[in-house]
Every structure is written in structure tokens, then in C-alpha cells.
Point group: C2
């Protein structure tokens, strides 16, 4: 909290966005609607974010001269991803406000810190142990039991950097394969559903939480989000309270998502925090007055937050790789479906090319025939 509280960045100020993928692109589009210019910094020319930015820097994320020039050219910096190298922040942070700040980024880029942080913030998590060597892994397996999941603590996403251990004999091979170390061993959780919730936290400390959603993955990549999650109100409310608490504890300025496992007994276990707009929040772009990207830019620019109210129910389908793009001819003629595409040239397998939001009258999702609904998405 600072003098910026009462005075948002003036119109036509420049928001620097580190990262040029779809999250940076959609943030830039929201920023433009709110009257800001965007300067996108990324290593690849013609990345999705650069196609819609007023200014571009094509440079490595750790290039000190390019970073210093970027910091001088913008009024605030935000990030498309949490794995911002420490060196990058060392150069940017003294020169220009960075939102979210170091604390949120540091916690979320390290699974060990993240688990410990969730526990401190009052969010239950599955049993876990840090694993520094093979002996430590064996001790952790003995304590936690099998099956369990061995994961890298850094740079993992979409299921990369992890191995499910079902028998003790699998430990050595998995340990040898995964890096960088240390690793983390997490108890395998027999969850019934994966739930997530997105919250925005403003520079003034106010928090706006979207409804919790129910996520389904395919090949470890998010495939579908159902908004709102079809879970008891107590569960949905708990997820929303947790994400608000995490946002406050991280002193976040921006948007964040927390993923949860829902256990058969109704308990929620926190899994991951993403201190940025999140794929499971894309439904908000069409179903809420202020979508997550507008909310993120409002926070980063020091504006008051907008409304996270859901005016419609929604199902979000990711469009992944060539199969996802092949759905377009069937999706475009459906008037209740909004298609969002990211400007990526090659539809490689597993690449997120876009998403589609199907809107339904508020309150009607749980009564839908899910098979019929998904057949047309």
C-alpha cells in the first residue's frame, strides 16, 4: 500500500507485460479496453501478445540491458508466468513497480515453498516431503506411503516434471530422471473432482472472488471448466474463502488461481497456486461483467476492482492442437458459444490454440444433459 492507492495509473500509461503467450495477449487486450498502452517483452518476435501491443521488446528474459530499457519505458510491470528468473526481478524491481511482487512469484515458483505457504495460510494440503537424494526419497515413501507422486519443485506445468510411484522399485528410475532437484514427494490423493477458484486483489487490498469451477483434464492439460462447480455450496464457499485468504497472505496485486482436490468426504486440499490469470478462469471473459484479464489489469493499474459476479453459467472448452482447431467449424455457428483464438501459427499437438465459452442461463448448468452439452463443444 502506497500513494498509488487512490490514484490509478492515468489513461495512456504503459503497462509492461513480461511474456508473449496467450495470457499476455488477453491481458493486453483488456488493458487496451481500459485505455492503457502495452509493451510486451518476450524472446520470440510475433508472439501472440506482441500482435496486439503498442510496443515490443524481443530479448532474452535475463538480458540486463533490454530489461533496463524496458523498465524505463513502462509505468508498471506484470508477468504472464510465475517462473520469472530471480535475475530478471533483480533488475526490474528496483526500477519500476512489479505486480505481483517478489513474494508471490517466489512462493509460486517453488512447490516446497508453495506447500508450506498453503499450510500457513490455513489451506490443508496432501502430505508431502522434500526429497534431496535417493535415501530421502525412500524415507519419504515410508512415511507417506504409496502410491505417491514425485515432482520437480520448479518449472513443472501441464503434467511435465512428475512421476507416479506405485511400487518402491520405481523410485530410483524416477529420481534419476527428474530434475532440477530438490524434488517433492506428495501423497497420491484419491480425489473425486478438481476444483479451482480465481480471485483478484487490488492495490487497496480489496479482494473479488469468482465462483469456483470444476475442471477436467485430458493428457494432463486442462480440457474443460464448468462454472459454477456442481458441488455443495459449503464446498464452493470454502474454495472461495481459501483463495481470498491466499491472495491476502501473498500480498498479491493482480489475479491468482488456486487449484484444489475435492476428497470423497467433502474436504478440499490445496494443490497449486498460480499468481496470474489462469486457464480455469477463462470462462469469466464472457460470463462475468469484469473478466479475469480486466480484473488483473485493474489491479495492476491501481484501479478499483470490477464485479466478479457471474451473469451466466458457462462451460469452457480448451482448443488444443490440431484436434482443437478442427472443432472450429462446429463451434462458430453456435450463437451461445464465444470463441477466443490466440494468434498462434502452428497447431502443434498439445499446444493451447484457443478456447470456447458456451454460455447458459444463470443457474441452469446443473440441470443440463452433460453429454449433449459436451457433444457440441
Amino acid at each position: 500500500m502506497s500513494g498509488a492507492l487512490a490514484t490509478p495509473l492515468p489513461p495512456n500509461s504503459t503497462i509492461g507485460i513480461l511474456g508473449g503467450g496467450q495470457l499476455g495477449r488477453m491481458s493486453a487486450l483488456a488493458a487496451a479496453e481500459l485505455g492503457y498502452r502495452c509493451h510486451v517483452y518476450a524472446p520470440d518476435a510475433d508472439s501472440p501478445g506482441m500482435q496486439v501491443a503498442a510496443a515490443r521488446t524481443v530479448a532474452d528474459y535475463e538480458d540486463p540491458e533490454a530489461l533496463a530499457a524496458f523498465a524505463a519505458a513502462v509505468d508498471v510491470v506484470t508477468f504472464e508466468f510465475e517462473n520469472v528468473p530471480a535475475r530478471t526481478l533483480e533488475i526490474l524491481a528496483p526500477r519500476v513497480p512489479c505486480r505481483p511482487g517478489r513474494k508471490a512469484l517466489a512462493v509460486c515458483q517453488d512447490r516446497l515453498q508453495e506447500k508450506a505457504f498453503l499450510e500457513r495460510a490455513g489451506v490443508p494440503v496432501a502430505p508431502w516431503r522434500a526429497v534431496h537424494d535417493l535415501a530421502g526419497l525412500e524415507a519419504a515413501m515410508a512415511e507417506i506411503g504409496l502410491p505417491a507422486v514425485l515432482k520437480t519443485t520448479r518449472l513443472g506445468y501441464d503434467g511435465r516434471g512428475q512421476a507416479v510411484l506405485r511400487r518402491p522399485e520405481e523410485a530410483a528410475e524416477a529420481f534419476a530422471r527428474l530434475e532440477p532437484r530438490p524434488l517433492i514427494l506428495e501423497a497420491f490423493v484419491p480425489f473425486t473432482q478438481e476444483i479451482s477458484a480465481v480471485a483478484a486483489r487490488g492495490l487497496d487490498g480489496s479482494v473479488a472472488v469468482y465462483d469456483a469451477v470444476e475442471n477436467r483434464h485430458s493428457h494432463h492439460i486442462l480440457d474443460l471448466s464448468f462454472a459454477p462447480a456442481r458441488v455443495p455450496e459449503a464446498v464452493a464457499g470454502q474454495a472461495r474463502r481459501h483463495v481470498a485468504e491466499v491472495a491476502a497472505a501473498l500480498e498479491l496485486v493482480g489475479v491468482l488461481a488456486v487449484e484444489f482436490f475435492l476428497l470423497p468426504d467433502g474436504r478440499l486440499l490445496g494443490n497449486e497456486i498460480a499468481p496470474r490469470p489462469h486457464n480455469s478462469g477463462h470462462w469469466t471473459m464472457d460470463a462475468c461483467q469484469a473478466g479475469q484479464f480486466h480484473q488483473h489489469i485493474r489491479a495492476v493499474a491501481g484501479m478499483p476492482l470490477g464485479s466478479a459476479e457471474r451473469h451466466s453459467d458457462a462451460v469452457m472448452r480448451n482448443l488444443i492442437g490440431p484436434e482443437g482447431m478442427a472443432r472450429l467449424p462446429a463451434l462458430l455457428p453456435q450463437p451461445d458459444v464465444s470463441v477466443h483464438l490466440y494468434g498462434k501459427q502452428a497447431a502443434r499437438a498439445g499446444r493451447k490454440m484457443g478456447h470456447a465459452n458456451c454460455l447458459l442461463p444463470r443457474g441452469s448448468l446443473s440441470a443440463q444433459d452433460e453429454g449433449k452439452l459436451l457433444a457440441r463443444l
Copy 2:
């Protein structure tokens, strides 16, 4: 209409936009959401549209070489304004699909053609006469009666290029002042409200019409739109039918608005056609699943149209000049208000800097206390 019917422009195709103001900017933002690249052509560097475009051409609208290069660089061209010089279209049209096409632009850039066209399309208009010289003006006044409005037939907007004649003695001065000629004399219409409606027409000939709205002007510039118009359903339906008929008669591909005068007896008279997204359609950006800019790009790109259904009622307030921008601190904290700013640097008097959409639950507008509502916009 053409082979393009069944196959929308592929993702990552480039849409050329002639004009770099707020309408081009909002069209470019919608195009990016739909996966297209935009190339903005305008005479001014750093115009609002250019700030969000993947490519830019800064050149005069009649520069033949720049236009030829632009045509070669894009897959389709659309226009932010209807006053496209004939020379510009002569260069572009043979090289690249132009949407809307020559017919719609020609009709809408000339008030004489426009009035005659509205009559042919079955839309009643106020009595009018072409005025080529002062003798003709006197004859026209004798036929139509006074008061009447003398207008240029080309390039008028926001009340410029017109004079209200109340007494015969005012004719000579007004005739001398207004140009280019010919002029048009229109009967002064004692309207009770100004109504408009926006429709999109796709390459396949399908038409989607938004709800008619009620407009209020201040100093001849649109100040407020109320969606939906608080008029009898028969009137609103008539406005929507008229605009759909006009779109079809113009063979429009894109979005168009028709402004109407509502007479005390409930009749509608057509006033103006704008063959493009229109200020009185800005409310659709937040209150409909597919706003007018998305609809425009869908049409121009050969996509099927989206839904023009209104999920919320809305009041749109234009933010004009310094007074408009001075409203921001009061508007931003209201969670049911979405602010759109255009990236213009200088807030000169009368300049459209942005707009704010206040959303209300569907069906609730007519029961609102209008004074209270407007006090917070």
C-alpha cells in the same frame, strides 16, 4: 454470394482496417479475440487503432502506392467510416475484398442517396428536397415549410454541416455558409425521441439485430443510450425490422446502424444510416454475448454471426472531452459499470475519449429511477 460463404478466413489471416480511431481500435480488439491479425491504415501515427494492431501503415487515404501495398498485405479490408474517398475504393476494391462494399459506402456517404434509398427500402423519412442553388432552396422551403434543416449532403457528422432555418430570411446566409453543394433541405421533425438499432449481416446473408435503443444527445454529440429503448414493443419491433431490411437492401457485409425519429403518433422516420459499428451500439460490448465489434469482424471474416441477444439491460454514457474524463474517478469504483477508453492523448472539448456501460438486470431498466441512475454515470 461467394465461395467464401462456407469457409471463414482462416485463423491468423490479416484484416485491414482503414481508419485508426476508436471504432477501428475496438474492431481490432475484437478481431484479435477471434484469432485475426489487424493491419491499421491511417494518416496519423499512434492513432488509437494502431496501438493494438499487428501491422500499421501511416499514409494518406488517397496514396496509391501505400494503398496497393496495404491491399497486398491483407486478406480483407473494412472501414471505420463511410466517407471513404472514391479514389481509395478504386484502388482497393479490385485487389482485395472490401466489406462493406461500394454500394453501402456510396449510399451512406451522400444524404440525397441515403434518403432515396431509405424510401426505396420501405423506411418512411421526413420530407426532403435536393438544393442546388438559392432559388432551389426557396422553392424547397415553400414546399416543405419552415422550420426545416439545411444540411450538406456529404461529410457531416455530430451536427456539423447543418443549419436550422426558422424564417425565410435565414436562407441566404445558411446557403452561403454550407458546403460542399448540393445541399439537402429536410423538414424539421417534432420527434419525441431518437431511436436507433444496429444489425449485423453476414457473408451468407443472415442478419442479427440488436435491441433498439433510445439515444440522447448533448451539443449534437451522442451522450447516452438506453438499452432497450423504453418504447412500445410495436415501435421497437418496427425499428428492428427496418434496420434488417436496410442491411439486406444494401447487401451489407458487416454492421450497420439506422437512426430514427419517433413521432408523437408512434411513427418512425429514418434519419441516417451508418454502415459500420456505431456509437449507439457500444452498449452491446458488455450486455450481449457478441458485441457489435465482434459481430462486425465475424461478418467481415465470413464467419457465422454470433448472438445479438441482450443478457442485461444497459445505459451507455459517452465520455467526451475533459468533462468526460473527469467522471472516471466516480465511474471506476462502481462494479456494475464497465469503462472503455480509446487511448487518445489529448482530451480536447467535444472529443470522444471513451464510454461507460452500466449493466442492469435484464428487464429492469424501465423501472429504474432515471435521475438516480444518471447521477452516478
